[in-house]
Symmetry: C2
Subunit: 354 residues, 2 copies
């Protein structure tokens, strides 16, 4: 399989790209797709995939989960970690996931396809991710014959994935484009060139905290290399739009921005109840402030905010607080307490020193 040439000029230090991800959709030759298979057939696929994955170096000391054996809480943890999709979250016989020890790689079994392998990394790191997932894919292929057509490429349960079976995505933080009402324009533009913008949790999900996932729509008729290059290129372009929007807002409406930042810090410090969406919104505002140099702490503080954007999600929050059966209202209280404590230690805003 063609290797993507390492292209260090595509790697950027900007924190606008929060994470990069590649996933491959694969099916076993000679077996029915998961949506048409009997329960026994699903179990056989599960067992053979699990066996192969357990032998791979990437999954050494990882965890294999049968989704139906997991509590609602544990499933939601995996979903919030982005190790499983919304579809797998809902359960089903013969379905599960292998998660690597560090959480950076996972392989869903019998989701839409027999295997959906993904690798995630912080920042814009697509070349390294491609090397890693390509190696994983090659390793699996040594033991499993994939459903493959010389004419079409990899065969998948849904026609949209046929060909390379690849989805390359960048999770991007675009608050200034949201503030300046430019996201709709960006989404339209991206759609026109065969890519797609979604909320942080993939298809059908809403964007919270101005986090958007940019990924390829097309999997057929382009090589993996070309798809990655395209996403890289348009990711850079959107980052540039976001940067321009930030500079323009700081120039044209500094008080509007300062107001957003000051309120976000004050509310996170003071609220007594806060739901997930609102918490993500204010963390997003402070992430923008930090990224614009209006809060000290640099990359480390941005990393803390990114971690908090996961910690405030329902299951992670309960794990953090040691409470596993909290009602939504109780969670809103716990979330407020957690954020009050953390926000009290955030670096001060530097709003009057332009």
């Amino acid at each position: 399989m063609a290797r993507l040439k390492e292209d260090s000029k595509h790697k950027t230090n900007s924190s606008i790209v929060m994470t990069s991800r590649i996933r491959l959709a694969r099916n076993i030759a000679g077996r029915r797709f998961a949506n048409a298979a009997t329960r026994e057939a699903l179990e056989e696929v599960f067992d053979s995939c699990a066996k192969v994955l357990s032998g791979l170096r990437k999954f050494r000391d990882g965890e294999l989960y049968r989704i139906n054996d997991l509590s609602e809480f544990d499933r939601t943890m995996l979903f919030e970690d982005r190790s499983i999709s919304k579809e797998l979250l809902e359960g089903g016989a013969g379905r599960g996931v292998y998660v690597s020890k560090d959480g950076s790689a996972s392989a869903m079994i019998n989701e839409e396809d027999h295997l959906r392998i993904q690798v995630i990394s912080k920042g814009q790191n697509l070349p390294a991710i491609w090397r890693s997932i390509n190696a994983l894919d090659d390793a699996v292929e040594k033991s499993i014959e994939y459903a493959y057509s010389p004419e079409y490429g990899y065969l998948t349960a849904c026609p949209t994935n046929v060909g390379t079976g690849i989805r390359v995505s960048l999770m991007m933080h675009l608050p200034a484009l949201v503030f300046s009402n430019q996201m709709e324009k960006v989404i339209r533009g991206v759609n026109q060139i065969g890519m797609v913008v979604r909320g942080a949790n993939g298809e059908g999900s809403e964007s919270h905290g101005a986090v958007f996932q940019i990924s390829n729509q097309q999997t057929l008729g382009m090589s993996e290399d070309e798809i990655i290059k395209r996403i890289t290129k348009y990711g850079k372009l959107i980052s540039q739009f976001e940067t321009n929007a930030r500079l323009k807002m700081l120039e044209d409406k500094p008080v509007f921005l300062h107001d957003k930042f000051a309120r976000a810090a004050a509310i996170l410090k003071s609220c007594k109840l806060i739901d997930t969406a609102e918490a993500l919104t204010y963390l997003s505002h402070l992430r923008l402030a930090a990224d614009m140099g209006l809060m000290d702490g640099g990359a480390e503080f941005i990393g803390e905010l990114d971690a908090l954007m996961t910690t405030v999600l329902p299951s992670h929050l309960q794990l953090e607080e040691g409470v596993y059966d909290a009602s939504p209202e109780m969670r809103d209280t716990l979330r407020a307490q957690l954020l009050n404590e953390r926000a009290a230690k955030f670096p001060a805003l530097k709003l009057n020193r332009r």
Copy 2:
């Protein structure tokens, strides 16, 4: 004219009733109503009313304004002080207002009627206001013959005011009824008994900061005494509903209330831009906290909040800050600065000592 018996048990110390007001609609016998008069006739009415008013003790050292001589800024000041109505704010030849030195009494000339005399006072103080306005009315009547029909009573430009020409109103702070979605029910109930609930600025105005004006609809077929007694009675009843709603919320959803209070204090301290409606909302939340004993400072602090609820209005704000031509956005900045300074000195919230 019948005097309302002083009824001290109707006077309450609760700060739920913010102000009481009575206004009388009067017209000069033998003259066309203002809406049908020539400009010359309006000027004659203006001059004769102004002359009579200037001789009254209540208006000694007061100010007479011809509305068309005033700047937009000055008109708005009078409107924000509730000395003139929205209709008079819009100007017009031969129209104006006499305002007493302490601002508690005013008499609009050639608004809808030739004369609209009003007296305002803090708290539930209708008996004293009635004595005061009744004396004013009697004094005017010594020099002006009112349009009066033995069958109908005082004749007015709009049929809804014929009879007593009286409007008795209580400005009430009802945040717990708003929080618990009970205001619609209260408004329906009040309408059924011939009274009306409006926003703070009268007919057609919205309620900001959970401030509502409860007043009589009916002016015909009831004596002034009866109307005042009714408003007093239903004012007490609505105060009781509000008090019950407060106790119930504190019992059932203390964290919901604490969250509102903590956010209000934090935002007033930290915001960099804030419009009038939002400022009134947060001041209203803190007024509730203070009234529920969750902020120290007692009646004095509530008085400070009430004053601030006027100071944040566009013209008062500009007077306070010494800027008279601020754009709406500039005003939002000035308002934030003013509130940041004041809120920094507010008493602390006592949220964890129930």
